[in-house]
Symmetry: C2
Subunit: 312 residues, 2 copies
């Protein structure tokens, strides 16, 4: 094992880059813009230039660099081929081989949600676990399923798509995926806002939430923490749907820990507490005591995970 | 790789044993009684005696035997320790080490549903797949989840317990596991009988099923194949619940094929057709074309799987 490695997390607006020691220490992190023009053809050359410049600046010998682990916002197969990254303008090509050619280093590439899960497993909320499921509650609901220390991608790159578990047959609105009643429609930041809107329009209960023009997930969790009855009822609905869905996930891979990340998780223990409450109600008895932890690495999960993927 | 191996499937009434060539050929199979008296302490010695006698009878040198793979009806951890097999009278002990001590051969041990899945993957309906989920529709609903060619057991031995996915919140009867609304309550042989009973008591529709004193799953599928409208409606209910549950499973591990086994699967393609119909409706788009196949090894899946587990 060489001394250094780079973790790279390519987003639609910025590319996050981290210089790590291979023992897990993050030495430095920074961002460069994601240049999506001309089908995103500058993105990998920009990354190569950035890491080569950093290596020189730090007076690190290229021979002491283990390589680069990259997370991309789209499906990636086991050979490192991206199947399409709409946000980056990319079509189908092998990102792993391309970046290796540009840098001379070994490269590993994976889907960003899966890579973030690897990061949390390595140095975050899942540290020490062999079987883990990462649930990212952001604009949507993402997932990363880790079995025996490795993230699984599935036969169509769709393993861990737990945001699209059907949790309701009564839903009338359509999810971004085209189906109705997906977990994402209730447990993402937008989903919590939707639950709030429905709850508030369905009764006249007095609540601080009525003072907001558009009630977002943060307002709901803040009000719930302050004891607002309507907000608490909405949080219960969120917990019921998510706890029940994760009990289903546990019937499939039976992880030892669920790590909850994404914007919604910033509300803290109120989130894990309410998920656990309903999870316990619906879980198969052998899995009833599975742990729930808040993700620890925040926006750095991707760069940590890139390195972890490279080293595993 | 040595030439021979034994596959053993321990059930509550009989122990099935198969002598295999390690290339996958089943040379001979037979059964011995499962002696559950005195906390099941004769079960492993009986098996050891049976396989040693067979080895002598066949004039096979013990050095040409690769070992024994055993499936047991209960959770087994990665060390080969059974956590409790109520049907056998067993408490907690290491079945792998115990049988190795009795025979002098290498032993692998696993949960019977998981082992059957390995059998179907090796020489049955899942042959050639790397990612597969086996669904056994028997008295209950069992599952075996295979990722990258290996069955996963989970952190509490509960991976693949898909019979206990919660599929209904309206259920009033209690499942064997203590919860309400488990998949098993609708999709097992008993579950189909329950659906039939409810359906028939809820209306006066004329149907051949009313001629039966107790309507079982076989009668329902037979009548449905003959075009009986009530039976067809019950089959649709079965397919809706099971197809929806398997769409959830696909959001977790995204297998390339579901293999449907157990007594209910003997009805044949009517089963896979109706599951596929509803699966497609609920599945995430990337996984919508996952295959459904009927299991091929029947009651021999366990002995095949024992050998496959030993060899993998």
């Amino acid at each position: 094992m060489k001394t250094y490695a780079y973790g790279v997390d390519i987003g639609g607006t910025t590319v996050k880059i981290g210089l790590f020691k291979t023992d897990g220490e993050l030495l430095e992190k920074w961002e460069i813009p994601t240049r999506t023009e001309e089908d995103g053809r500058f993105i990998l050359p920009d990354i190569a230039e950035a890491v080569k410049a950093k290596t020189e600046e730090r007076k690190i010998s290229p021979e002491d660099v283990e390589g680069i682990g990259v997370g991309v916002p789209g499906p990636v197969d086991d050979s490192g081929t991206v199947l399409k990254c709409v946000n980056l303008g990319w079509g189908i090509f092998n990102v792993k081989d391309s970046l290796a050619l540009l840098t001379g280093w070994r490269v590993a590439a994976g889907n960003d949600a899966n890579v973030a899960a690897m990061g949390e497993l390595w140095q975050g909320g899942g540290k020490g676990a062999a079987n883990m499921v990462m649930v990212t509650l952001g604009t949507g609901v993402g997932g990363g399923v880790i079995v025996d220390g490795k993230v699984i991608s599935g036969s169509h790159g769709a393993a861990g798509e737990i945001g699209h578990l059907t949790v309701s047959r009564e839903e009338t609105e359509i999810c971004g995926c085209g189906k109705k009643g997906c977990l994402e429609q209730y447990a993402s930041a937008n989903g919590v806002a939707r639950l709030a809107k429905r709850y508030l329009s369905g009764n006249d209960q007095e609540t601080v939430l009525r003072r907001e023009t558009a009630v977002g997930a943060r307002a709901v969790f803040d009000a719930a923490k302050a004891g607002d009855a309507a907000a608490l009822a909405i949080v219960e609905q969120f917990g019921e749907v998510l706890g029940r869905a994760l009990a289903s996930v546990a019937c499939v891979t039976d992880p030892e820990v669920f790590v909850i990340g994404g914007g919604v998780s910033k509300a803290g223990e109120i989130v894990t507490d309410v998920i656990r409450k309903y999870y316990t109600l619906y879980a198969f008895h052998a899995s009833a005591n599975t742990e729930f932890r808040i993700a620890e690495l925040g926006n750095d999960a991707g760069i940590y995970g890139g390195v972890s993927m490279l080293l595993s």
